[in-house]
């Protein structure tokens, strides 16, 4: 087979699409991610250059060795002139290595230290990882004004966000590449990650530490919105669950509060007050359900509630036996919880 260099280059091109999009460390949307991206590019350039130089030197050495091979080289009786030259090269290489590594280390240290610095009053959000979903708590001056939601973080543009990371079971890791670096979530320990979003938009985050069967389907969206919009959104989230709009939704509320759902889920304003599953008070207002597994539509809610173990095998929500009418009603009610 003849080599096709153009074809090969064309086949590599699609890889470049991985450089942009809602989840890319190479497409930074905030100062923290930008300083990390700068670090990535500098390291790549410096290391690439060193690699080229080393290969070049090896090539030259091989070539010269071959050119000069003969009895003149007597390893046991080196000429002092060439010996001194070799010594100079080795010492020079060692000094260069030490200098380069020290500079890179210092750069990395300064960049990582700048990640925790924040200017201005930060918004503090608590993020707790569970197998396999995220609990999000927006703090306020008094605990009764805290708001708990799940699987989606909304933040105001331009204001630093202080994420307090913890875990309810095993080790997870929070990574939103477009906005910040990774930070682990460790049981029994609080870690802090600060970032600022500079532009409105949706950025995808993903659990970055293998945490069990559904680790792959443990995603999260970070939505940056203008500050006034964010405040009114937060006020809306603070409200108890919407009243059912019609009879079907009313029947759905009966199901959600009377069946096993209420033992695991909280719907504020009803008697459902379980705490082991995501808060469903405003589940209809979120973009996705089950940690980024499905879009929040009435149909997807129905599919999820009918058979969670087929949609996301192994997740901790069991299949609760429901009749067709109950299922229809409860998914209508959930979709209405805006």
């Amino acid at each position: 087979m003849r080599p096709h260099p153009r074809l090969a280059a064309a086949a590599l091109l699609p890889l470049l699409t991985g450089c942009t999009g809602p989840q890319s460390a190479l497409d930074p949307q905030g100062p923290n991610a930008a300083s990390l991206a700068w670090l990535i590019w500098t390291f790549t350039a410096v290391c690439g250059l060193v690699w080229l130089l080393v290969l070049l030197t090896v090539g030259i050495a091989l070539w010269r060795r071959r050119a000069s091979s003969g009895a003149a080289d007597e390893p046991l009786r080196p000429e002092s002139a060439t010996e001194r030259r070799k010594q100079g090269v080795v010492i020079g290489a060692v000094v260069a290595t030490v200098l380069i590594i020290a500079t890179l280390t210092l750069m990395s240290f300064v960049a990582t230290r700048s990640l925790t610095a924040s200017s201005g009053e930060p918004l503090t959000v608590r993020l707790r990882g569970y197998q396999w979903w995220w609990e999000v708590t927006y703090t306020a001056d008094s605990p009764d004004r805290f708001v708990t939601a799940a699987n989606e973080i909304r933040v105001p543009v331009g204001r630093p966000v202080r994420l307090e990371l913890s875990s309810g079971d095993v080790i997870h890791s929070f990574w939103v590449p477009s906005l910040a670096g990774k930070q682990d979530m460790i049981p029994g320990r609080d870690n802090v990650l600060t970032f600022t979003a500079e532009r409105p938009g949706s950025y995808r985050a993903q659990c970055a530490e293998f945490c069990g069967m559904q680790h792959a389907r443990m995603a999260l969206v970070v939505i940056a919105m203008a500050a006034p919009e964010f405040e009114s959104w937060l006020d809306a989230q603070r409200q108890p669950a919407a009243e059912p709009a019609d009879e079907e939704q009313e029947a759905g509320r009966q199901v959600a509060t009377g069946k096993a759902c209420a033992a695991c889920h909280t719907i504020r304003g009803t008697r459902a007050a379980g705490t082991v599953g995501p808060d469903l008070t405003h589940v209809g207002s979120r973009q996705t359900i089950a940690a980024g597994t499905l879009p929040t539509t009435r149909g997807a809610l129905g599919a999820w509630i009918a058979d969670p173990q087929t949609v996301k095998p192994g997740n901790k929500m069991p299949m609760v036996p429901l009749s067709a009418d109950e299922l229809r009603a409860v998914s209508a009610y959930m979709a209405g919880l805006k």
Partner: protein
């Protein structure tokens, strides 16, 4: 001859590929059948559902189900009344003494329907499968005989013999006073 020996050894290695099956999803008719226990008139003892045998007794011998049972034990706050099994306002669950029996059917009925002196009914909070997972777990916490399956280990400090220690206790202690 050598080829045969190598093939035989390779076949032996393949035995290491066998893993425990995790049944993540029961078909609804199976779940319904699992609820068909036939307890005696005093709600202690009785016949387990036939389907349990057909499934191969998955709630006592399967480590995944035991782990789920262990998780549910803290999720549904059994700890609040029974502590880590040593008992508090509710009776101890690992001393080998049972007020209502330790057979699967008695435990199932205890959890599903509750018991008169303060054990709440969990029939509307847990699914049938979850109740069986808890039953399996309860039957392994205080056992006096060895078992091949154990739930995942504790993340907190051990306040009692680990479930995978077998037997957990060699003999019955003194009966608890009521």
């Amino acid at each position: 001859m050598r080829a045969v020996a190598i093939a035989g050894l390779a076949a032996l290695l393949a035995a290491g590929c066998q893993r425990e099956e995790r049944d993540l999803r029961l078909d609804p008719p199976v779940t319904a059948a699992l609820d068909q226990v036939a307890p005696m008139a005093n709600a202690v003892g009785g016949a387990p559902p036939d389907v349990l045998g057909a499934l191969g007794e998955p709630y006592e011998g399967n480590a995944y189900n035991l782990s789920e049972g262990k998780r549910l034990y803290s999720w549904f706050n059994c700890k609040g009344c029974h502590a880590d099994g040593g008992g508090a306002s509710g009776p101890a669950l690992l001393d080998g003494w049972w007020r209502y029996g330790s057979d699967p059917v008695s435990l199932f009925v205890t959890l599903r329907d509750g018991r008169q002196n303060g054990m709440p009914a969990y029939g509307d909070k847990l699914t049938t499968e979850q109740i069986w997972q808890l039953v399996g777990y309860l039957r392994t916490v205080g056992v006096s005989s060895a078992s091949f399956a154990a739930p995942s280990r504790n993340d907190e400090m051990q306040s009692r013999p680990a479930e995978n220690r077998a037997p957990a206790s060699a003999e019955l202690g003194t009966p608890p006073s009521r």
